[in-house]
């Protein structure tokens, strides 16, 4: 455990018990989607958050939802992610805040904030998911060289993504692991030298980063006329969009370019879906379930509903709807989040279709978020 996480034992007893229940699940090797267990934990957590977060309590009561009147976890009112830009949604005293993660944003856009009084669940949630979806073949106790196309947690202390990468490097990174974005810019030459060295010695590596970090890497490689063939067993993890920070590529285009430039097959390129407001992440299934259709999978302690935005009910199979996430690791804030993303259900997982606010605009009014647009997460 990191020295900067706060043991649950120092939290108030009710919260500590909730954390302990979720932590126990996270530490189990067997990932079973236990509906009854999820429902029980979600109800307890909802009751806690209903009691401890006054705005959320009034929000739920306004919708006629109270712990006593809850049919199932599916009825827990979801907080819109946009609300984190305006309200401090926490279930603990402000003075107990240990860390605040912020969404990325432009100079004019407000930034969302997630306040945490412990990092224990955050880290306990991210590691098993990361290992299962990126390193399923890594033996217990083994490490892998990991390069990250994102700033370090020291450089970006309020970035949840940088924190995640920092924890991953600390727990799973072998010698030669590190960050290749320094002072906000990709250090292309050292990065490419490191990748070239790995390619020469045949040592597989994991290359992680933001989509726009990868776009910059691809541009740097193109400018240098460089192509690499990373060793067999290497893999790539990319996350977030690139709009506004680099030329905008669709995920399929990005994967095809990465395959060509790095010599990593698309089946070993994993997209992560996560956001500052969530403690848990969702990954493409390609490494964890090779040979099956690509889809995002949730850990057992999280659920994703695809909701018809007109009715709030579950969208039909294959239908596009809003993604609503229920994450038991969010014990200190809100477990149910209404995201701004669209998606659709795919078997036991889901597909993220993004937001594209202007895509449906029929006129010349400025698109909904164009004026106030956040930078990519």
């Amino acid at each position: 455990m990191s020295a900067r996480t706060r043991p649950s034992g120092r939290l108030d007893p009710r919260r500590a018990a909730l954390d302990a229940g979720v932590l126990a699940w996270m530490r189990e090797a067997d990932w079973r989607a236990d509906e009854a267990r999820f429902d029980a934990l979600a109800r307890d957590l909802f009751a806690f958050q209903f009691e401890r977060c006054a705005p959320y309590r009034r929000f739920c009561a306004g919708r006629g939802r109270t712990p006593e009147r809850l049919g199932s976890w599916r009825e827990i009112p979801a907080v819109p992610t946009g609300a984190f830009k305006e309200l401090a949604l926490r279930c603990f005293p402000a003075e107990d805040t240990l860390r605040t993660f912020r969404t990325s944003g432009t100079a004019t856009a407000a930034r969302g904030e997630l306040h945490l009084d412990t990092l224990e669940l955050y880290e306990a949630s991210l590691l098993p998911s990361f290992r299962r979806h990126l390193l399923p073949d890594l033996a217990a106790g083994a490490r892998l060289r990991i390069r990250v196309l994102a700033p370090s947690p020291e450089e970006a202390p309020d970035s949840s993504l940088s924190h995640m990468f920092g924890v991953v490097l600390r727990e799973l990174g072998a010698a030669g692991s590190g960050f290749d974005v320094v002072e906000g810019a990709l250090r292309a030459d050292p990065c490419l030298a490191g990748l070239g060295e790995a390619a020469a010695c045949g040592e597989p590596l994991l290359l992680c980063g933001t989509a726009f970090g990868f776009v910059h890497l691809l541009d740097a490689m193109a400018a240098r006329g460089k192509q690499l063939a990373l060793p067999a067993g290497s893999r790539v993890m990319e996350t977030g969009g690139s709009k506004g920070r680099a030329r905008d590529l669709r995920p399929g285009e990005l994967h095809a370019l990465l395959e060509q430039a790095l010599g990593v097959p698309a089946a070993r390129i994993v997209n992560q879906y996560g956001m500052t407001e969530l403690a848990s992440q969702f990954y493409d299934s390609v490494l964890a379930r090779p040979g099956e259709p690509r889809r995002k999978l949730a850990p057992p302690w999280a659920r994703v509903r695809v909701v018809d935005p007109e009715t709030g009910t579950d969208a039909g199979p294959g239908a596009v709807g809003s993604l609503v996430v229920y994450d038991l690791a969010n014990t200190g804030s809100a477990l149910a989040l209404q995201t701004a993303d669209l998606g659709r259900r795919l078997g036991d997982g889901f597909e993220v279709l993004g937001r594209e606010p202007g895509a449906e605009a029929r006129g010349c009014s400025i698109a909904a978020d164009e004026l106030l647009r956040d930078g990519p997460g």
Partner: protein
């Protein structure tokens, strides 16, 4: 089409240059009169062109038939032949100038490419007619969301004036076909409508001396003074503002997104929000909104929930909304701009006075198109000038935002002269 398209487009540009040269052999007045007749035809609800437009647009664009009917009636009303003649006279002078008579000469470019966007027909109509008024032939790429307006216009022209009709051609290709787009952008003048990103991409490919006339995505607002925040004046105002928002489902750059209640107390904003909600509910019965896509519906749901939560946090925020996503009014606690999901989603912001109003609108200045104003009494003129200084190109009463005059200086520019080449013959000088 991708492989052949660039060559085909270049061939059509060359053909149009020849057609333009032919057109310029006849007096300019003939061309202008034909265009004036065309506008009168389109204004006439009984004309075949208008009936086809009304019948076809709902399916092509997703707007409800009632919105299309009402939107066309109001939007085309100021687009008369007479208004067109007046516009030409004001901006270009007598038609003979186009024929090279006198010391001040006016001409269009040899050929103009027009990239249309959006599904509202009036801006498309004007973008196509303006170069033709200067006898610059047009190669146009219709909007993907409205393939109908340009096609019907070409047909109307054929019926009115065959030679002029030969100066308008349409070309369709996928938006991502950069080869075809590059060929189209080889025209001497380019008129483009789209987001700032689209316009920047076009600008990078249209270098001087060729000319780019760009129309970006813009937004409109409304400001209501104390005199209109109570009683019958409020009811009247709310009905007109609701119409402004409902027409074209709040998708036009002249659709108001945020309404500022200017007055000393918070109650004015409460009353305005309530009145707007009632008015939008009433408008929905007459002019039903089109069905939004999932992204728009999701954005509305997200913003409604955000408002509920801010209210639950103790802010003076109120959500007024239809059971579905048909209309929404959020009474905000402050003047901070928040996302506008469009599709009939209005926010009402309280501001204490005109100074706070201008501070709130200040950052929006570069994106401003229109501001509807009412209830400011003798201060109205001063406020209008301040808003014009911020960047608004249209200041008007609520209820007429969607019916701009033909001569509206969109983006602060004249309608015809940006497309013209002006020359001055100074025979006696020196």
């Amino acid at each position: 089409m991708s492989g052949r398209a660039p060559a085909e487009i270049r061939e059509r540009l060359a053909h149009l240059r020849r057609a333009g040269a032919e057109l310029r052999r006849r007096p300019a007045r003939e061309t202008l009169e034909a265009l004036a007749r065309l506008l009168d035809l389109w204004r006439d609800p009984g004309s075949e062109a208008r009936r086809e437009l009304e019948a076809g647009l709902p399916r092509a664009t997703g707007f409800s038939p009632a919105v299309v009917r009402e939107g066309l009636a109001r939007g085309l009303a100021p687009f008369s032949g007479e208004a067109f003649r007046a516009l030409v006279a004001r901006e270009l002078g007598p038609p003979e100038r186009l024929d090279g008579a006198g010391a001040e000469m006016v001409a269009g470019f040899e050929v103009t490419a027009v990239l249309l966007a959006g599904a509202i027909p009036m801006p498309s109509l004007l973008s196509l007619l303006a170069p033709l008024a200067l006898r610059s032939p047009v190669l146009a790429k219709p909007a993907s969301r409205d393939p109908l307006t340009a096609r019907l216009l070409a047909r109307s022209l054929r019926a009115l004036d065959g030679e002029l009709a030969g100066c308008l051609e349409l070309v369709e290709f996928p938006g991502r076909d950069s080869g075809a787009a590059g060929a189209l952008l080889e025209a001497d003048c380019v008129v483009a409508t789209g987001s700032d990103e689209t316009l920047a991409a076009v600008a990078a490919r249209v270098a001087p001396p060729r000319r780019l006339v760009g129309y970006g995505h813009r937004l409109s607002l409304a400001a209501v003074g104390e005199a209109a925040l109570a009683g019958p004046a409020l009811l009247s105002l709310a009905g007109r503002l609701a119409l402004d928002a409902a027409l074209w489902d709040q998708q036009g750059c002249l659709s108001p997104l945020w309404v500022y209640a200017v007055g000393p107390g918070p109650e004015g904003a409460d009353r305005l929000a309530e009145a707007l909600a009632a008015a939008l509910a009433e408008v929905e019965t007459r002019l039903p909104r089109g069905v939004p896509g999932p992204a728009a519906a999701a954005s509305i749901a997200q913003e409604r929930a955000g408002a509920e939560l801010r209210a639950a946090a103790g802010q003076r925020v109120a959500l007024h909304a239809s059971p579905g996503t048909e209309w929404t009014v959020v009474r905000e606690a402050d003047a901070r701009p928040r996302p506008a999901p469009l599709h009939r989603f209005l926010r009402v912001h309280p501001v204490a006075d005109a100074a706070e109003l201008l501070r709130a609108m200040g950052p929006l200045g570069p994106q401003l198109a229109g501001v509807a104003l009412e209830g400011f009494g003798r201060d109205e003129g001063r406020l209008a000038r301040a808003l014009a200084d911020l960047g608004a190109s249209r200041l008007c009463r609520p209820g007429v935002l969607q019916a701009p005059p033909l001569a509206w200086p969109r983006e602060g520019c004249a309608v015809l002269t940006p497309l013209a080449r002006l020359s001055r013959f100074e025979a006696g000088a020196g």
